[in-house]
């Protein structure tokens, strides 16, 4: 099986740009990725694009062809929707198409415009990633759903709000060097604990912000990279997808993410590595508790022990496995349709030594990107390795 190379990456700054359309954001990210890749636009065989709430935020459906147009590419285009895992799923399909020889060059990305809806409107729009009949109509919000998981985690395995606060503080610290991050400011454990409660036990600073932004990567086949002498040292060597029942209450566990475990196991097996080989990871920390559940699902921490990983320094930049060196969703921002591809772009850049935080993972060869949809009814995991 031929490997899939990351030839170029492009991110807009994540933040509050309520007046910028998704097509404008994606035009910027895709232009950056294409320029970074040295791949001519005419060579792009397909555009795969993730977006979640475009109908609600921009009154815009059918975004595939619109985004190809914004990227200046005439290739056929498809939109993927899997809530906050939308572009991660698009990327997985790009990998599959490249592996099976259907394509040699794929432009894959995502964008989301959220802040124009305001906090109330965006909260309502995000909520529809849950089961409308049995969860949303009972008043469940997304912070509420993750709060239910946090309470269940504390009940089952122990831990408290202060443990979670260390995760927020770590990810904010990591974002200080990331000029694309929404928040380039430090947050202390005390700041997190003193913030207003959103949905107990989670406070304002346990949550990622509402964000506008876009991400894009240019993926190419190994043959194409060789033929065109591209500078593309990082390959995507593993991909996996997991699924679970839609409503949280229908799952076996309220404080575990089996869909992410399934996706991770598939991706590890695909890449022929194990969790012990992982040097760094970008995981889906939409809320602080989500990082805990992700680490445990990926076997980077034992079940019940992920809660102390940040506090005890195992996931900090100087720890064994630095997690979310980009700042994560928590500090970098979470324009939901762009997030999955942005994580892969960060891992690729970290491994290539081109990231401001690459110094913390010098010599690293293996990274993982974990992207979750909803309360993890959808999950997609990718393994990236330095191969050249």
């Amino acid at each position: 099986m031929s490997s899939v190379r990351v030839a170029g990456t492009g991110l807009t700054s994540f933040g509050e740009y309520p007046e910028r359309t998704s097509r404008d954001l994606f035009a910027e990210a895709s232009a950056t990725a294409l320029a970074d890749s040295d791949v001519p636009r005419d060579d792009v065989d397909a555009v795969l694009y993730g977006n979640f709430m475009g109908e609600l935020s921009e009154h815009q459906g059918h975004q595939g062809p619109l985004m190809a147009e914004a990227a200046g590419v005439t290739a056929p285009a498809t939109r993927y929707e899997a809530a906050c895992a939308s572009s991660g799923m698009a990327l997985r399909d790009a990998v599959i198409r490249l592996r099976n020889g259907e394509c040699d060059v794929v432009l894959v990305g995502g964008a989301e415009r959220m802040t124009n809806l305001g906090t109330a409107g965006a909260t309502e729009a995000l909520a529809i990633a849950a089961d409308d009949l049995w969860e949303v109509r009972a008043g469940m919000t997304f912070p509420g759903a993750y709060a239910l998981m946090a309470t269940a985690y504390f009940e089952t395995y122990g831990g408290d709000r202060e443990d979670l606060a260390h995760i927020a503080a770590k990810n904010h610290e990591n974002a200080l060097t990331n000029e694309k991050a929404q928040y380039q400011r430090a947050l202390s454990v005390e700041d997190v604990l003193e913030a207003p409660t959103v949905s107990s036990p989670l406070g304002l600073y346990d949550s990622c912000p509402l964000s506008d932004g876009a991400a894009a990567v240019v993926l190419v086949s190994e043959a194409y990279a060789d033929e065109h002498d591209l500078d593309a040292p990082v390959a995507i060597t593993g991909t996996g997808q997991g699924g679970d029942r839609m409503a949280l209450h229908d799952r076996e566990y309220l404080a575990r993410s089996p869909a992410a475990r399934e996706a991770g196991e598939q991706a590890y097996a695909d890449a022929e590595i194990g969790p012990e080989d992982v040097d760094l990871a970008e995981v889906h920390d939409c809320f602080t508790i989500a990082e805990v559940l992700a680490l445990e699902a990926l076997d980077l921490e034992q079940v019940g022990e992920g809660i102390s990983a940040a506090r005890d320094g195992r996931t900090t930049p100087d720890g064994d496995t630095p997690i979310n060196l980009s700042g994560g969703l928590k500090a970098k921002g979470h324009p939901v349709g762009a997030t999955g591809v942005s994580q892969v772009a960060e891992v690729a850049t970290l491994l290539a030594g081109d990231h401001p935080n690459s110094e913390y993972v010098e010599g690293a060869t293996t990274g993982v990107a974990h992207n979750a949809g909803g309360t993890v009814a959808s999950a997609v995991v990718h393994v990236l390795e330095v191969v050249a």
Partner: protein
């Protein structure tokens, strides 16, 4: 539609779900069960566990137990006037349900609390919602 059937204003009924709310309001809440014994909630034509299409209704236990809870302070516009409110997942034996815990100070709701189903209405929208009431 029977005379005692409630509806949410102008909204079209959702077959299966609104029927379940009607039943729950009449203290006849149920789950769907297949011949293999897997339980699920309507609307459903197929058992999500095994694919069986032979589903029958079975009454839920009268009492459930709160497994996890949160008090939501920042609500969506649809629940603005309801906040702060306690949302819980309660275990009713063969199935769990998500609902708002009513007739109690939200901050006092903890895992282990015994509850019964109490279909209630949103203060914001007047629409019906699945609720739980503590039992003595």
């Amino acid at each position: 539609m029977s005379e005692n059937t409630e509806s949410d204003g102008e909204r079209t009924r959702d077959a299966g779900f609104d029927d379940w709310l009607d039943a729950a309001r009449a203290n006849e809440a149920y789950s769907l069960v297949c011949e293999a014994g897997h339980h699920s909630l309507p609307p459903r034509r197929v058992c999500p566990e095994c694919g069986s299409t032979d589903l029958t209704e079975e009454p839920l236990p009268e009492t459930g137990e709160v497994e996890t809870v949160t008090v939501t302070h920042v609500a969506t516009p649809s629940f603005e006037a309801d906040a702060p409110y306690a949302t819980a997942i309660a275990d009713f034996g063969p199935v769990r349900l998500t609902g708002q815990v009513v007739e109690v100070d939200p901050e006092t709701v903890e895992p282990g609390l015994a509850v019964e189903i109490a279909v209630t209405t949103s203060e914001t929208s007047g629409k019906r919602i699945v609720g739980f009431r503590p039992v003595q």
